[in-house]
């Protein structure tokens, strides 16, 4: 019974993570993170992802504040977006990263309306990927708790 459960969980996990890649939420960088995790650093992914959440929420708050000012400091806005782009890129949060790229272009143009629109978009994308990652981590933890190992996703070039 136990083995069947673990099998099922592992399949569910693989299907889920594959979908995240197919839908563009995650890119290959996330796999790199997983590869850096081992018995000596079993919580590496969770640690980095948690940091990403903290960082992003802080940056999104800063962005909201900065864009709410009467005289918008676009350099500051750009600096925040640059940071968010960096961290999302580092963990493989592809859609968030892509939002940031567009966002930076509008910062350069000092286009307030587009920047505000980008801010909304990036907040949405962040929420999506946060939910997905939390679900993914939960699935991993379930597998481990049931005595199984987290399967590695196989992909072909």
């Amino acid at each position: 019974m136990q083995n069947m459960e673990v099998d099922q969980m592992q399949r569910q996990y693989l299907d889920y993570i594959k979908s995240l890649f197919l839908e563009g939420f995650l890119d290959g960088q996330f796999l790199q993170l997983q590869q850096l995790q081992d018995e000596n650093n079993p919580d590496f992914v969770v640690e980095v992802v948690s940091l990403f959440f903290e960082d992003s929420e802080r940056l999104l708050n800063d962005l909201t504040f900065a864009l709410d000012q009467k005289g918008i400091d676009f350099k500051k806005v750009d600096a925040h977006v640059h940071q968010l782009k960096g961290s999302s890129s580092s963990i493989g949060a592809q859609r968030v990263k892509n939002c940031c790229i567009a966002f930076r272009n509008f910062c350069e143009e000092q286009n307030i309306d587009e920047c505000l629109s980008c801010l909304q978009q990036v907040k949405q994308e962040y929420c999506h990927v946060k939910n997905k990652l939390e679900t993914l981590i939960r699935l991993e933890q379930q597998i481990v708790a049931a005595g199984g190992s987290i399967p590695t996703m196989e992909f072909s070039f």
Binding site: F21, L22, D27, G28, Q29, L31, Q32, L33, Q35, L36, N41, F44, E47, V48, L51, F52, D55, H82, Q83, K85, G86, S87, S89, S90, I91, G92, M153, F155, S156, F157
Partner: protein, 188 residues
């Protein structure tokens, strides 16, 4: 990895992003490097024993070596975009220091700006990595460290001048173009 005779090299990593520091530290450690990670150029200089305002060390070379190096750093890898002191500024300060100029320096950046890359390489950086840094990038570090190890056994000044002359034409490898990261192909 883990061969008995292998020297453990000490890498100083500099990045203002905590996430990126974690990443680079893990990457370096999986390659068996000993790592110190700091979050700014000024902290890096402090760690290296160089005074922050970048005053050239005026003591004669032999004494400078002893005074500045309680810790031996074999390679410095630094982010380019950092507040206050950029990776490029840090590179310059290191290369201007008698005691530190022979330490290989690698620059990382999330932005692929050819003029930036060229300037760093021309001014003494040994490699330029595009972020996010991959394991394959880290694998390219060891040759630079082995080269330095050999140099350490000879006279610093003469050898470093010779090296600058021979490396005038940069190999294509150094102008870092992003190689294929492990991307998933959307096939089903």
């Amino acid at each position: 990895m883990g061969m008995a005779a292998e020297t453990q090299f000490h890498v100083l990593a500099v990045d203002d992003s905590l996430i990126d520091r974690m990443l680079i530290e893990r990457l370096l450690k999986t390659s068996s490097f000993h790592v110190t990670a700091v979050d700014s150029g000024s902290k890096a200089l402090k760690f290296l024993g160089l005074v922050e305002d970048g005053k050239r060390n005026e003591e004669p070379p032999t004494i400078a070596l002893e005074a500045n190096q309680d810790v031996e750093v074999n390679l410095i890898i630094t982010d380019y975009c950092m507040p206050e002191m950029t990776g490029y500024d840090l590179l310059r300060k290191i290369k201007e220091s008698e005691s530190l100029k022979d330490i290989p320096v690698v620059i990382m950046s999330s932005e692929n700006v050819p003029s930036r890359i060229n300037r760093c390489l021309e001014d003494g950086a040994d490699e330029f990595f595009l972020k996010p840094v991959q394991q394959s990038d880290v694998n390219r570090l060891r040759p630079h460290l082995m080269k330095s190890k050999v140099k350490d056994e000879e006279d610093h000044h003469q050898i470093s001048n010779k090296r600058k002359e021979t490396e005038e034409s940069h190999s294509p490898d150094k102008t870092r173009t992003k190689m294929e990261p492990p991307k998933v192909v959307n096939s089903s």
